[in-house]
Amino acid sequence: MATLIEHSSILIIAVPLLIAFLTPLIGMASKKARNAVVIVGLSFVAFLVFALARDVILNGIHTYTLGATSPSLTIPEGAMMPIRIILEVDGVSVFMGIVVAIVSLVAVVYSLSSMKGETGQNRFYTLLLLMVAGAFGMVFTGDLFNLFVFLEITSISGAALVAFKTRFADSQEGGFKYIVVSAVASLMVLFAISLLYAQYNLLNIGALAAAMQYTMLDRIALVILIAAFAMKLGGVPMHMWLSDTYSVAPVSITVLLITVSQASMYALMRIGFILYGVTLDLAVVGWIIIAIGILSMFIGVTMAVRQTDITRLIAYNCVCESGFMLVGFGVGLAVLGNHTALRTYGTTAISGAIFHMINHALFEGLLFLVAGAIFYRIGTRDLNRMGGLGHTMKFTAAFFLLGALASSGLPPFNGFASKILIYESVYQFNPVLTIIGILVSIITLAVFVKAFFSAFTGAVLPKYEDIKEVPKTMIAAMTIFAVIIIIFGLFPGLIVDWIVRPATDALVDQASYINTIMGAIP
């Protein structure tokens, strides 16, 4: 077991890759075996993630030097800096790992029946596993160029999966937009990385953070990195690809795309808090991120109100929710240099944002799964052609209501628990932000009242009288999300104490991240 824990951080990334390479061969033989292998492999990975999370929360940061003579040997003899690629897993990384593990399992379970009858299923599962592996790599790696490579893996497999339903024109268009945007963003990220490499001849995040001088080139690299990752996570005004992409992808892929956007937000925070850390003009960078967040909240929700396509509506709501996280992180970044403010409300804001990340993945995922269930049954996403579905699809309606209430921050669901943290702390930073946030939450409720009203209520339409409930596995997948949402809503204190606090402490503690790498200089 100790050996397994020691190697777990690389196994979590490499096992999905191995299964992905095996999937085409197994799929040629039998479909059932392929599905079984995929589910068993992802469950094993999830188990590893939880074991690793326990280990990290108990024993501190976990490092793994690839190709060295020992996993903990970060710096070889005779060198003053890390040479090889190092996986550095701290609280935030395992938190994101937990999110990816849960969501990927649910996505696969949902795909089992929602993808029935489609052609090219072998490649579908292969790319899905590659996407999961890329997301794990993005959150676990401690090397900037490695981060870029995994970003590309998620982008390419995601674009191919968005265009999975090749018989629809708009799904092809969504895949095209996604790959173009991702390619431009990740190329600019690589340019910024090369700017950093040109000055310090380093690629490791911890070593770069130790050597950072915040020169002119560092500012330019910071600007490019912020813009690129904000584009990847869909912050206004770079959010337009998001609604086009999320609304046309198969929903089990959309759920994974959400976690990929969360991984991009994780990368943004890693760069802001750890890589640049206390050297940058915190207030200014914090306010830039807060401005993007406020714009995302307001424009996202106001655009969501007028949508008549249900998945587009939920996609714009995703933009709005990620605005909340950006505001929380921005406040935490703005007060990072000021210790009293950080202790009084900065850490609370960061905790709220981190807690909102997993809640966002959960309830937006649930809403997308419900939208996919509706599309699976009645074959349209247009709210104008829906009505009275609540009479026949009772479970689906209940799940949609649950997700909607959680997303608009009504008690006692998890969305409220994380939003109240953000409200309280941001109020002490700047009351106007909190007022805007509460207003946006109210409009969010209006958005979902509209969607629920026009889709589920009313008399049964004659053309939908023979609609049945969706298959068992889809119900099971939605139930997993629903149960986790209710648990998180009823015991928020436990969740915050167990996984959110360690993540927050890891994010604000730049010194220990650096010392874990650079402390081993002989």
């Binding site: 191919a160 095209f176 173009v180 390619a183 086009d244």
Partner: protein, 118 residues
């Protein structure tokens, strides 16, 4: 100032190439030209990376029958190799999507062929 320009000209050239790529991505509506713009953008990043690794009078970092002399930096060349392969993969995928879009909409114009807006 001017000798700095002369000295750092390769770096500036990479930046100018990146400007050309962004120009194509912004102003050209043809989908194939968009793919070209992305390729040019990645080529500019490759040029920048390789330029960073150059040492004056350096030789290739290969010891087989190597002449005497300082070797240029190998890591940037590895990064460039990675980026080249990634660019190839990306353009292959984008081109396949462009073919599908053309089959569906019969247009290669990013404005005429779009279905979703607002």
């Amino acid at each position: 100032m001017i000798e700095t320009l002369i000295r750092n000209f390769p770096l500036v050239a990479a930046v100018v190439l990146m400007g050309i790529g962004l120009y194509i991505l912004i102003f050209k509506r043809n989908l194939i030209k968009i793919v070209m713009g992305i390729t040019i953008l990645s080529s500019s990043v490759n040029l920048f990376l390789v330029t960073l690794g150059y040492r004056t009078g350096g030789i290739a970092p290969i010891y087989t029958d190597a002449p005497e002399g300082l070797m240029v930096l190998p890591v940037v060349q590895a990064l460039t190799l990675t980026n080249i392969v990634i660019a190839v993969a990306t353009s292959a995928l984008i081109l396949s999507l462009v073919i599908r879009i053309y089959r569906h909409t019969g247009s290669l114009d990013s404005k005429k062929s779009r279905r979703m807006k607002g």
